[in-house]
């Protein structure tokens, strides 16, 4: 499957976002004080955003000359799986603590990445997050997110 190049798609998205943010800098909330002599909170961001708008347009136009993006289903599945897994893992740390989500993630993620050794993955899934937790919580005294269900973790 081929179409527009990644660069032009991303360039276009950045241009639209930049245009919106640039428009946003003229909102009433930023017209705070005449004492700043025009160099208020959005003075610098406005310069950056204006430059970004020009550059993103250039990237979009340059991208039109590049080869169209090719997507292999297996590639999308593997990368998408890794992203979704990592996202769910990170979100669940906030609600379920560090140890349990890390164990589940450490066990399942290698399979998403193509690994097939179930027993080694299981051993690492148990030992690795527990070692990290012990090292940080007990040795370095850095508190990691804790589980609402288990008192120890």
């Amino acid at each position: 499957m081929a179409g527009a190049s990644w660069a032009s798609v991303i360039g276009g998205l950045i241009f639209m976002t930049t245009a919106y943010l640039l428009y946003h800098t003229f909102a009433d909330v930023y017209q705070t004080s005449i004492l700043t002599a025009g160099r208020g909170p959005v003075f610098f961001p406005r310069i950056i955003l204006a430059a970004m708008a020009v550059l993103s347009l250039m990237v979009t136009i340059e991208g039109l000359r590049e080869k169209g993006a090719e997507f292999r289903p297996r590639e999308i599945l593997a990368a998408g799986g890794a992203i979704v897994f990592s996202g769910v893992y990170i979100l669940s740390i906030n609600s379920a603590g560090f140890v349990i989500p890390s164990m589940i993630f450490t066990f399942l993620m290698p399979f998403v990445l193509g690994y097939r050794g179930i027993w080694i993955a299981l051993a690492i899934a148990i030992l690795y997050p527990l070692s990290i937790w012990y090292l940080f919580e007990k040795v370095f005294l850095i508190i990691l997110p804790s589980s609402p269900w288990l008192e120890l973790f």
Partner: protein, 494 residues
């Protein structure tokens, strides 16, 4: 002399010495494993330093930094896959030597050249950093503004991919760092009413996402087959001095190339090793044999890439301006540990500066011992299946992102940065300018605003200052040169 003694006192403590050894060992291990590299190595080690004292924490990170640059040579020699991009040129002669059954000798050459390169660059750092810091004491906000812009444009310009993509990535970095409270007026910027956003986007979680997480996603998208590594038998054999003697000039020249390139913003160990290798190919006594397993190639590449480590710290320590993502992470972690690099560091905490110098010397010496004794052991790390390794990287990276402030929002920042980094890399955007943009944003913005106050709002008055004018001319040349090169190539084609 007093400050030197104080620096020595800081370093000669058990925690600092242990950190030097452990940091170097971990650095070499990280360097050996293809794909991890110095930035991921330092971000992985960062959470371990949070509860450490200042000096041991710095020793651990500097050990990882220098060790990782050297470690890449081992996998380049043994499996023809450089552990880090910096060691890519080493594989050209290292692997043919390994195929001839001389992997131990190749590692001996690489270890010796790396150690000498590293020590040479520490010498450069010791001489150049205090001079630069003293010189920069005359700088006003206007010079700092010009310097910040110059550094960022350099990095955007020499990064891989098109210049416009590099500049855009730099712009994204500059913008992202403006989110949150404006430190001059106290107003909220781009928070859209969210209380959590008022603290802004934290640098370390963003770096963790951009480098560590995006690397995992890239690996996932590129390969779903687990590769088996076939490694040559490894050991360590030091070449005799008679073999070194005719190569001393090559060694010195490569060290100078590495140190010079390392101090420039935007370049780095990979660039320096290839330039030194090209120079060896042009002028080394055995240049005809380069690429067939000739030690000259290993000496040039390894001494040059390690000669970057100290000199890259020159602008970072003296001006607080990092030259590449590795020194940007180092700068961020220095700040986490209460050390603010810049000229004032040299006037107010000279003992700590001497401690950094001494740590770097010790790290390079320990690196030699670690390489000599542990080369065989480190190649065993290559047997760890990549999916397991990448999974472990994600978990420790997450701890790193969370540990800086203990703020759950930083985990979300790291994840978003990871996905964003993955998309940008897929589209051919370099990530280094983005990170440097984030680091330099506050300095550029503050100095611009202060500079305009000094000149009563006239930007043209910036050009009346000689240093600023020189820097602006250099910046303009950096921007115009690629256009001229493109026009020339078009003319040639026509």
């Amino acid at each position: 002399m007093d400050f030197f003694s104080l620096g020595l006192e800081h370093v000669l403590t058990m925690p600092a010495l242990i950190s030097i050894v452990i940091g170097t060992i971990l650095g070499v291990a990280v360097g050996v494993l293809p794909g991890l590299g110095s930035v991921i190595g330092i971000t992985m080690i960062l959470p371990f330093t949070f509860s450490m004292e200042q000096i041991p924490a710095l020793a651990l990170m500097l050990g990882v930094y220098c060790g990782s640059v050297y470690g890449g040579s081992i996998s380049a020699i043994v499996i023809n896959t450089p552990g880090t991009p910096q060691a890519a040129a080493t594989a050209l002669d290292g692997f043919p030597m390994a195929q001839r059954g001389e992997a131990d000798l190749a590692i001996g050459w690489a270890t010796m050249a790396s150690t000498i390169g590293g020590l040479f660059s520490v010498g450069v750092l010791i001489i150049a950093a205090p001079q630069l810091a003293a010189f920069s004491l005359n700088f006003t906000a206007i010079e700092y503004f010009a310097l910040g812009v110059f550094a960022l444009i350099c990095i955007a310009n020499v990064s891989r991919g098109a210049m416009s993509k590099g500049l855009l990535a730099g712009g994204i970095g500059l913008f992202l760092a403006t989110v949150g409270v404006d430190h001059v007026t106290g107003d909220m910027r781009f928070t859209f009413g969210s209380f959590e956003m008022t603290a802004g986007i934290s640098l370390i979680p963003a770096i963790v996402g951009l480098f560590a997480l995006s690397e995992v996603f890239i690996r996932a998208s590129e390969s779903t087959q687990v590769k088996t590594v076939i490694a040559h038998k490894v050991g360590f054999r030091l070449p005799p001095f008679s073999e070194w003697r005719p190569r001393l000039w090559l060694l010195l020249k490569s060290c100078m190339i590495g140190s010079f390139i390392g101090a420039l913003p935007g370049t780095g160990a990979a660039t320096s090793s290839f330039i030194a290798y090209s120079e060896a190919k042009r002028s080394a006594p055995n240049r005809d044999k380069l690429g067939t397993g000739e030690p000259d190639g290993i000496i040039a590449s390894e001494s040059a890439n390690n000669a970057v480590t100290g000199s890259a710290m020159v602008p970072t320590l003296a001006l607080g301006i990092p030259g590449d993502p590795v020194t940007a992470v180092m700068l961020g972690s220095f700040i986490v540990h209460g050390l603010a690099p810049g000229p004032r560091l040299f006037t107010e905490h000279l003992d700590l500066v001497y401690a950094v110098f001494l740590i770097l010397i010790a790290v390079n010496l320990v690196m030699f011992v670690v390489g000599a004794l542990g080369a065989q052991l480190f190649t065993r790390a290559l047997r760890i299946p990549e999916p397991l390794l990448m999974t472990m990287v994600v978990v420790i990276a997450i701890v790193g992102a969370y540990g800086v402030r203990g703020n759950p929002l930083d985990l979300v920042t790291a994840f978003i940065a990871g996905v964003g980094g993955f998309i940008l890399r897929k589209a051919g955007f370099p990530l280094a300018p983005l990170v440097i943009g984030m680091v330099l944003s506050q300095m550029i913005e503050n100095s611009l605003r202060q500079g305009l106050l000094l000149t009563r709002g006239s930007f043209l008055a910036f050009f009346e200052r000689p240093i600023t004018l020189s820097l602006f001319i250099l910046t303009a040349m950096m921007l115009i040169w690629p256009v001229i090169r493109w026009l020339r190539s078009r003319k040639k084609e026509a």
